[in-house]
């Protein structure tokens, strides 16, 4: 590996993170509204009369440094980010942003990422099988049916599943993460409980995402099918399954993985509706609520976290890719 290349990629990575972080700083502040006003507004909506709210808002603005010039706030923001100090949440003052994110993160990782990985794996495998000669024709006809499911917006799928499987047929709970009233200790029954509660949300994500991955993989596979090395492998007398897995699949999968890394960022946005429908306390709903509350620090914290994760994922991929595929060189042509 070329040191120059490595450095260049690192610099690009840092650049991307910086630009994205800056955009994340600017955008919430462009929208009219004030985080404290939002909080008090919500309370007043509930009927709590908040006397002297003007004064409260002014005091909080000072406390949060919102009355400083924007450039100063920006510089302070960047400095804090460099220290990985995401600050205190405005709408949940005085709780630190990191604490809030960490609370929601396990659910997001547990549900979304696992569901997406499942969809990715299943979709990719099915997509490859779709193209492979020795897959039975019947399978090749039925598999595209899954893309029909992809045609239903996933949030609708979620509600339909909720209605059918939870409401109508009582097979799964209507939402939440655990049975109401269950204790929080880590035990086998708790794990099973959580798993039981995550089936429907996971299913709605998997069913709607599988079609997309399948199509992508199918396209990749086709590019690989006619390749010479496959013909050679066959001529050598290797078993079909072996050729499929170690030669065809492995070579076709690489661009898919890049797509996966990139789509990780949009998973959280997309998950909002699923989390709302199933009352799942993940990062998506957190972000949505933070946006409504104009909670600048929380929004910045979550988006920075996402940008960082995706950036790192892409960086790792970019560095590892060439190791997997020797056809790609590091030099610029």
């Amino acid at each position: 590996m070329n040191l120059v290349y490595l450095l260049r990629r690192l610099v690009t990575f840092l650049l991307i993170v910086w630009v994205a972080a800056s955009i994340n700083f600017i955008i919430p502040r462009l929208a009219p509204g004030d985080p404290v006003a939002a909080m008090l507004g919500r309370m007043s909506q509930q009927g709590a009369s908040v006397a002297g709210s003007a004064q409260i808002i002014e005091s909080y603005r000072q406390q949060f440094g919102l009355d400083e010039p924007v450039t100063i706030q920006y510089l302070k923001y960047l400095a804090a980010l460099a220290r990985f100090d995401l600050g205190l949440s405005l709408s949940n003052f005085p709780t630190p942003v990191t604490t809030i994110i960490m609370r929601a993160l396990p659910w997001t990782i547990g549900l979304l990422i696992i569901a997406t990985l499942l969809a990715f794996s299943i979709g990719t495998l099915l997509g490859a099988l779709l193209v492979w000669r020795s897959t039975p024709a019947a399978a090749r006809t039925l598999l595209p049916l899954l893309t029909v499911l992809a045609a239903i917006p996933y949030y609708l799928l979620a509600i339909i599943l909720l209605y059918l499987l939870a409401f109508r047929f009582n097979l799964f709970p209507v939402g939440g993460t655990t049975r109401i009233g269950s204790a929080n200790e880590l035990s086998l029954s708790m794990v099973l409980d959580v798993a039981h509660h995550s089936v429907l949300p996971a299913l709605s994500i998997v069913l709607s995402a599988v079609g997309g991955w399948m199509l992508g993989m199918r396209a990749m596979m086709v590019g690989v099918i006619g390749a010479d090395y496959l013909t050679l492998a066959e001529a050598k007398g290797l078993k079909q399954r072996r050729i499929f897995l170690r030669y065809a699949l492995r070579n076709a999968i690489l661009p898919q993985i890049t797509g996966l890394a990139i789509s990780l960022g949009s998973i959280v946005s997309g998950a909002v509706l699923v989390e709302v429908i199933f009352s799942y306390p993940g990062v998506g709903f957190l972000l949505y609520r933070a946006i409504q509350n104009a909670d600048y620090t929380l929004i910045q914290g979550i988006t920075f976290f996402l940008v960082l994760s995706v950036g790192i994922a892409i960086l790792i991929l970019d560095l590892v890719y060439p190791l997997l595929d020797p056809r790609i060189t590091y030099q610029r042509r």
Binding site: A31, P32, G33, D34, A37, A38, M39, G41, R42, Q45, Q46, G47, A48, S49, V50, A51, G52, S53, A54, Q55, I56, S59, S89, S91, N92, F93, P94, T95, T99, I100, R103, A104, A137, T141, V148, I159, I160, L162, Y163, L164, A166, F167, V174, G175, G176, T178, G181, N184, V276, I277, F278, S279, P281, F285, L286, R289, A290, Q292, A294, L298
Partner: protein, 628 residues
């Protein structure tokens, strides 16, 4: 050709399958195999109307034998998931929504509780209160025997401490209010607090200490809080038993979507014999989720009560679960929330500084239709800007003559057009009016975005646009997020808006005072949220309100003064009522009974307010045989 079956064919088959699965299907233990239709009569605008609803086949009721469930009360809470479930400090904005997820219903108690049904302020932690002659001094006597959950006695010191703490910290909720009204809070003896006010305020107890709407000032234990910074103190540490409070329950578990509480058998009220222990041994508050989820949970008796449910969803739950009850036994089932919706003008913006133009807008809007549309056909209009509870209702009735003279509820587009034309407007392009100066007649109406406030805001926006276009006014709806909306209202950055007012419930002062001239700060300076945003100034009106301020609630002179104020208000019409917020607050009597309903109206029914405490302690377990 390899395959005859096409993707499309199979796709269509799947669609067909999905569609058929949506029809009411037969379930295993079914009573009827086809959905039945039921005729339901409801009262709409005074006349009975019959509609037909389809009832799904009934689901079997759960076996009522789970002892764990039978001793637990489960309620839903609103506000969404709690991002930070470790804050039990009722004075900072971050308290919400966690505080209404059981804390201020079951853990914290109030000095007094206002009961909407009886109209009386019932003392609880306090025993009584009394004012001096000119309402500048308030003495509160604490009930003997009240204790904190750590065994320490609840005394006047705690009350004085709390009020002084609020006074000294303007960032705390109610801080500025205490600073404005309280001169000093002193301990006279262990059971008496004397609060000296900066100006006469006969409604001090009503406004701040008795849960007028939603909540009140909660007294905190001095011995825990005196060394803490109240602006950052979280007040939650289960190991230490924090929050320390006087209520009958203690918090045992908190997460983003669920809060559990256990009954304290050493509750002071049970100890002193003042009140028996509440029946539920365990409480759970869960995040109520979307409408679908709520209806499902209620039907299955997975919750015993919810903060709200839509009319259609309520009917579904009722059809599946005959134990479901709400405030009214018949449609519209709903209870009236004390915060009605109204239409307000920014009276500093032309041409809406002219009362006659404001009347034109009022004539142009069909308020009954608006009320109906926002509530599936069974809404209630709001004649004035408060809800029609007992005392206030009779107050409005006494003034019907005024409402006839100033027909604010009338829908009369021709009259509206007449008024506008009399001002010199002529029809221009598109049928919209143009002023003598060539400026088109436009109105920007502010509301909340449906993504946060719900589709009702979208419905209003559409209707305003339609109705006002019919009388030649071009409307631009301006839908903002909650925070932007509140900001714009407070700063006066709007032309007209739909808003809600949580004001009077038993005595008209609070609502009247919302339009006092002293609230009319210049545009660009902040007002106090839902009060004064329209910046209307009328000295005569304000003088009358000042007089009312001096009188104790219930004083017969208030009625006269109200009529005078109402007359001015209606004449000038800085704002007019739209519709009441009706909400169905559903409960199920499968596990618990003695819920507050219109037929059992010992208190008002909200379960997200502090007053929930008052019926929580009265609930009875349903007997096993009566579970169906």
């Amino acid at each position: 050709m390899k395959k005859k079956i096409s993707v499309l064919g199979l796709g269509l088959l799947l669609i067909a399958l999905l569609l058929t699965s949506c029809r009411p299907a037969t379930t295993p233990q079914v009573i009827e195999s086809t959905p039945r239709t039921v005729e339901v009569t409801r009262i709409v605008a005074g006349t009975p109307e019959t509609i037909i609803i389809t009832v799904e086949p009934e689901m079997p009721t759960p076996e009522p034998v789970d002892p764990e469930r039978a001793r637990t009360l489960i309620l839903g809470f609103e506000g969404g998931q709690v991002a930070s479930p470790d804050i039990a400090n009722p004075f900072i904005p971050a308290r919400w929504p966690m505080i209404s997820a059981g804390l201020h219903q079951a853990v914290f108690e109030s000095l007094f509780y206002l009961n909407y049904e009886t109209g009386e302020i019932q003392p609880w932690q306090a025993e009584s209160y009394s004012f001096n002659d000119d309402y500048t001094e308030l003495a509160i006597k604490i009930r003997p025997g009240v204790e904190w959950s750590d065994g320490q006695p609840f005394t006047a010191r705690d009350v004085a401490f709390t009020i002084n703490m609020l006074k000294d910290n303007p960032t705390l909720i109610n801080g500025p209010a205490m600073e404005q009204w309280v001169e000093a809070a002193e301990v006279v003896d262990d059971s008496t607090v004397r609060i000296t006010l900066t100006a006469p305020h006969p409604r001090f107890v009503l406004d701040f200490l008795s849960v007028q709407v939603w909540g009140s000032i909660i007294v905190m234990p001095e011995h825990i809080w005196k060394d803490q910074d109240p602006t950052t103190f979280k007040n939650l540490d289960l190991e230490k038993g924090w929050p320390v409070a006087t209520g009958p329950y203690r918090l045992t578990q908190a997460s983003s979507t669920e809060f559990s509480y256990e009954r304290r058998d050493d509750w002071w009220a049970a100890k002193t014999g003042f009140h028996a222990l509440p029946a539920p041994e365990k409480l759970i508050f869960i995040e109520q989720g979307t409408e679908d989820r709520r209806a499902a949970m209620l039907s299955e008796n997975q919750v015993d009560g919810l903060p709200a449910l839509g009319l259609g969803a309520y009917r579904v739950a009722q059809a599946r679960n005959p134990n479901v009850v709400a405030w009214l036994p018949e449609p519209p089932y709903a209870w009236i929330d004390p915060c009605p919706f109204y239409f307000e003008f920014n009276t500093t913006v032309q041409p809406w500084d002219d009362p006659e133009m404001r009347w034109a807008v009022s004539y142009a809007i069909d308020k009954e239709k608006l009320a109906d549309l926002t509530n599936e056909g069974s809404g209630l209009t709001a004649q004035f800007l408060f809800s029609t509870y007992g005392a206030l209702s009779s107050l409005l009735e006494k003034n019907q003559a005024l409402f006839e003279q100033y027909p604010v509820m009338e829908y009369n587009p021709e009259k509206a057009i007449e008024i506008i034309e009399s001002k010199g407007y002529t029809r221009g392009a598109g049928g919209f009016f143009v002023g003598p100066d060539g400026q088109p007649l436009t109105l920007e109406i502010m509301g909340q975005t449906p993504s946060e406030g719900g589709v009702a805001w979208g419905i209003s926006a559409s209707l305003f646009t339609e109705y006002l276009a019919a009388v030649g006014i071009q409307v631009t709806p301006k839908l903002l997020s909650v925070s932007a909306y509140q900001d714009a209202a407070s700063l006066g950055d709007f032309e007209a808006r739909q808003a809600w007012l949580c004001g009077s419930v038993t005595d008209p002062y609070t609502t009247l005072n919302a339009f006092h001239a002293n609230r009319a700060v210049p545009v660009g300076e902040r007002t106090d949220y839902d009060k004064g945003a329209g910046r209307w100034v009328n000295e005569e009106y304000s003088a009358i309100v000042d007089q009312v301020a001096q009188l104790e609630p219930g004083d017969p002179h208030i009625d006269e003064l109200f009529t005078q104020a109402l007359e001015i208000f209606l004449r000038e019409l800085p704002a007019f009522g739209l519709y009441q917020q009706v909400r169905i607050v559903p409960y199920t009597s499968t596990y618990w009974t003695n819920w507050p309903t219109s037929q059992n109206n010992y208190i008002h029914p909200p379960n997200w307010w502090m007053t929930t405490h008052q019926f929580l302690i009265e609930l009875q377990p349903a007997s096993q045989t009566a579970s169906r």
